[in-house]
Symmetry: C2
Subunit: 376 residues, 2 copies
């Protein structure tokens, strides 16, 4: 008997632990939820695989099963995904982050949480959980991937971004104690650029009791279920993804234009897809993630909803840094976690937060009564 959760996914029981065999499945789910961003999940699979082979499987835990006053460390990769696919991590950066957290707070971290579930960032912190021998929290701060730090549910819930810790593969470490989350973001971005375009970070340190009301819960098991559904679909992977997510297909066609620039710790640009048959053009606007899809001058989908590009034949997610001319793709859009459709959510992650002047129009109504209640 399958229960149905708020995003229309089967709520299979949460697995007790994550081993190497779960990684490709988790990666498929994280990729789709990443809106084209969060980094190529393959990198996350490779990193987590090595760590789990060395240190053993990682326990996946619900926040309800951790002590109220335990310290949770949300973390992940920051910077431009175009850089992350070339500038590989050492694999122990998260250990450095946790050490610095201990030095700064005098407290031990009890569990590692991905700050964003989308893309490689749903998997990379698993690497660190394995190496630290800590459980992985079945939650994240986005339910997708977004390009900036203020775009996390912990920010909406009023969790302080001070301290934010950044490290790189040389184990250079930087602690930011900023007057606001906006300044944290600015300094973090600049540091990521100085580190060569990408780095790892821990931010919004909080105790378990706070995390329970300040995060998107169950996002790791949701990505696993989504990944499993894709894995099961033998003939029509794109159809399976669309069915699982109740997604809208915006277009199916060929990439005919890609503009991309990596600067200031971001990759920004756009891509144009020419629809097979009609020749209609769909333009994707990109800032690390796919931000908006415009067809014939009309916005068909936008942040905070999730726009993901899939390879038409294999259903494989095409992350923004892998978009290139001639690729046959299907562009789908589906509902974000309901928190992002609230006024507070739209304020930090709606179209206006990215400089657009159009209002947000949801791609599909979310089910009322299932809203993530992030509370200050």
């Amino acid at each position: 008997m399958d229960a149905i959760d708020r995003q229309g996914l089967r709520t299979d029981p949460r697995p007790a632990q994550l081993g190497v065999d779960d990684l490709p499945v988790l990666a498929r789910g994280c990729a789709v939820m990443g809106a084209g961003g969060g980094g190529d999940p393959l990198i996350g699979v490779l990193m987590a695989r090595e760590a789990i082979l060395e240190s053993g499987p990682v326990r996946l835990v619900d926040l309800d099963d951790l002590p109220d006053d335990g310290l949770v460390m949300p973390c992940g990769l920051v910077g431009a995904p175009t850089v992350a696919i070339e500038k590989l991590e050492r694999g122990t950066e998260g250990v450095r982050l946790a050490e610095e957290v201990r030095t700064l707070t005098g407290r031990e971290v009890v569990a590692i949480m991905p700050f964003e579930i989308g893309g490689s960032n749903g998997l990379i912190p698993l690497t660190w959980a394995a190496r630290l021998g800590l459980p992985y929290v079945d939650a994240d701060g986005m339910g997708r991937a977004f390009p900036t730090m203020p775009q996390m549910t912990m920010n909406i819930a009023g969790v302080s971004s001070d301290p934010c810790i950044i490290a790189d593969e040389r184990l250079n470490t930087l602690v930011i104690r900023a007057a606001s989350v906006g300044w944290t973001e600015r300094l973090l971005r600049s540091a990521a650029a100085a580190f060569g375009g990408a780095a790892v970070a821990a931010i919004f340190l909080m105790d378990v009791a706070t995390a329970r009301r300040a995060t998107v819960r169950d996002s790791v098991s949701r990505a696993l279920r989504l990944g499993a559904a894709i894995t099961r679909a033998e003939s029509d992977p794109v159809g399976a993804i669309v069915a699982e997510l109740d997604a809208t297909v915006l277009t199916t066609g060929k990439v005919v234009e890609v503009t991309r620039e990596t600067s200031g710790g971001f990759v920004r640009g756009s891509a144009v897809i020419e629809e097979a048959g009609t020749g209609a053009l769909l333009r994707l606007e990109i800032q690390n993630e796919n931000l908006a899809a415009v067809r014939d001058g009309e916005v068909r989908a936008s942040v905070p909803d999730i726009i993901t590009v899939l390879d038409s034949a294999t259903g494989e997610v095409v992350v923004t840094e892998r978009l290139r001319y001639g690729r046959r793709v299907s562009v789908i859009a589906f509902a974000c976690d309901p928190i992002w459709r609230t006024q507070a959510g739209l304020q930090v992650a709606g179209p206006a937060a990215f400089g657009y002047d159009f209002p947000f129009a949801p791609v599909a109504p979310h089910r009322p009564g299932a809203v993530t209640e992030v509370r200050r």
Copy 2:
């Protein structure tokens, strides 16, 4: 009876304390020793004046008079002087730095030391000493001003640049724990740029026993004596400065060209001075400080020696960010502290360290037997 120190300055006794009346005198000396950099001393005078009026005069102490295990905080302004003259400090940034040092090390700072004596940086830390009620150390890390952090005697002496703390007037704070002084510099510079082009920093924290062998001693009292000599000179201030420092006059004429760009936390550029009478052109190369003076294709003076531009009429120092077309100036050069003429000194602050391919040619022989003995 006047003793003579190694730079040919009268070694009048060190004053016991620094009050508001000492500030203009100190500023004159710091300006000349700044090689055109270190920031406009006027800013330092204004800041230190306000702090001393509020909190009283500051004790000026020799390192021999402080406890061996006391913690010394070298500090100052970092970033582009062009920015510093417009982006004013709050005046309490140094208090924030000392607080963060306490948090990080668990130790109290016993004395404040300017990390560079040149320009406003010879005076700004005095502001913080006043506000913290701490003595000011009669020493610095350069004996002049240089554009980067590795160019400090503490680096040559092997003092660690970890941690380095940066703050701005919003009291945003950043702690850098880098794998090397090169990475500290890179991350610091990037942070200064993110802060808007300028910030304040503490670096090379050390105990008093280490500071005694790792700094340029007596540099505050040397700047005071130089400033006093200039103040006493009624008719020919340029002549007085030249006489005091045993300096070489490279040219006297009119500024006919200034090129300047502020980016990445530096101001870089050049200026051309046309000599009165002969019309000969002298070109100054600038990176925050005056780096080299070239006349008829021949290098007449360069780092690490000190090149300073003076207003021909008033003897007032023209810092690099105040150079402009038509100004009548005299360009002088004089010997740096002997530590910079050693192999280790030239390696971090000689012409090659700035990308030049010419060898260092000292402007005037320094007196042997008076070398600052910085020891690892």
